[in-house]
Amino acid sequence: MIRIVSLVILFFLSTFIKVSAQSVSPENNTADHTVAIQIPEVSLVNVTGNSVLQLSLVGPVEAGRPILNQVSDSSFWLNYSFIKGSSSRPSTNIYVRIADGSVPPGTLLSVSAKPYAGNGNGSLGIPSGNVTLTNIEQKLVQDIESSYTGVGVGNGHQMVYSLKVNQSQYQQLDFQSSQQVRLVYTISD
């Protein structure tokens, strides 16, 4: 008899506990939402330095000598910002060409980029070597991935311009053929 009574009590208790457990079961103790994150395509390039670059070949100091073979300038810096798209454009390059004017006959104008320096970050480009400028695009810096150089002189790739006499065309030198040349830099994959 006692057993039966205690069983009945147990049954009642367990039912009660079940009911009360159900009544407090939390229906929404979680909540979620979505965040869309968008990253833009970026490819910007700029050349910074003192406005116009002047390269002047210097005449000989003594009769019988040639004019000085080469003059250089390294006051300009190449700045850029690039964000890659792994499937559409994993890396980029910087190209240079003469857009207006031409180099005086008997001379060669060339440019080379030095290795990256500055306060930028990321996977910066690698200099492609010395480029003799023409009106056809040539690669100056290559394999740029997501990176930025920092802005202004001292950031990016220092560029060394050289104007030199083309020894095989010395006879074409003409002081009245001094020229202004406009260069265009393009960042493109």
Binding site: N29, Q38, I39, N79, S81, Y148
Partner: protein, 189 residues
């Protein structure tokens, strides 16, 4: 023997009931007050609960991506809590990423503001901002019995920001734009 005990018990019960029914000069009732355990939460926004973090392209070659606009503070955390001192002295709210991933090179931080609104009780204390990943990170702690009020302007404001991962700028990829789902959970024993 068994039958007779049942009979005696039934008789006894009937007598008690009868006696109570007769006694109508003084009313004697018991009021049972049940307090439910409560642990519910919700995320409220001005419209949908989907937010966008848009990274801006730099304005000048050489600059990094602009993360200042890649922030959102439109969502609010609402909750109602009735705790049991014996079962759970206080509660916490955790957040984690349940689907999608934050683009490479970046990380997402969420920071809850201090409680404000039309609620009452002992509200939770916002923790310092947390970088979200696939594991629960505690956003609000020490929630006791309280309610925040419902909707925008009640509870804890959620501030989402994007940050750079150290030395991973090269991994940023515009093809990596992504949607991330964040799940919030209020603990409930």
């Amino acid at each position: 023997m068994f039958k007779s005990k049942i009979l005696i018990l039934s008789f006894f019960l009937l007598t008690v009931l009868f006696a109570q029914a007769q006694e109508d000069e003084t009313a004697n009732g018991t009021v049972s007050i049940a307090i439910p355990e409560v642990a519910i939460m919700d995320i409220e926004g001005p419209g949908s609960q989907s937010i966008s973090l848009v990274v801006e392209a730099p304005s000048e070659a050489g600059l990094m991506l602009d993360l200042t606009a890649a922030a959102d503070s439109s969502l609010w955390l609402n909750y109602s809590s009735v705790r049991s001192q014996a079962l759970e002295a206080n509660r916490s709210i955790y957040a984690r990423i349940v689907s999608g991933s934050v683009p490479s090179g970046l990380r997402m931080r969420v920071t809850a503001g201090a409680y404000t609104g039309s609620g009452d009780g002992t509200h939770g204390i916002a923790t310092n901002g947390k970088i979200l990943n696939g594991n629960d990170r505690r956003i609000v702690r020490n929630i006791r019995t309280c309610y925040t009020g419902d909707g925008v302007g009640n509870g804890h404001r959620l501030v989402y920001t994007l940050e750079y991962r150290n030395n991973q700028y090269n991994r940023i990829d515009f093809d990596d734009s992504n949607t991330v789902s964040v799940l919030y959970t209020i603990t409930d024993n």
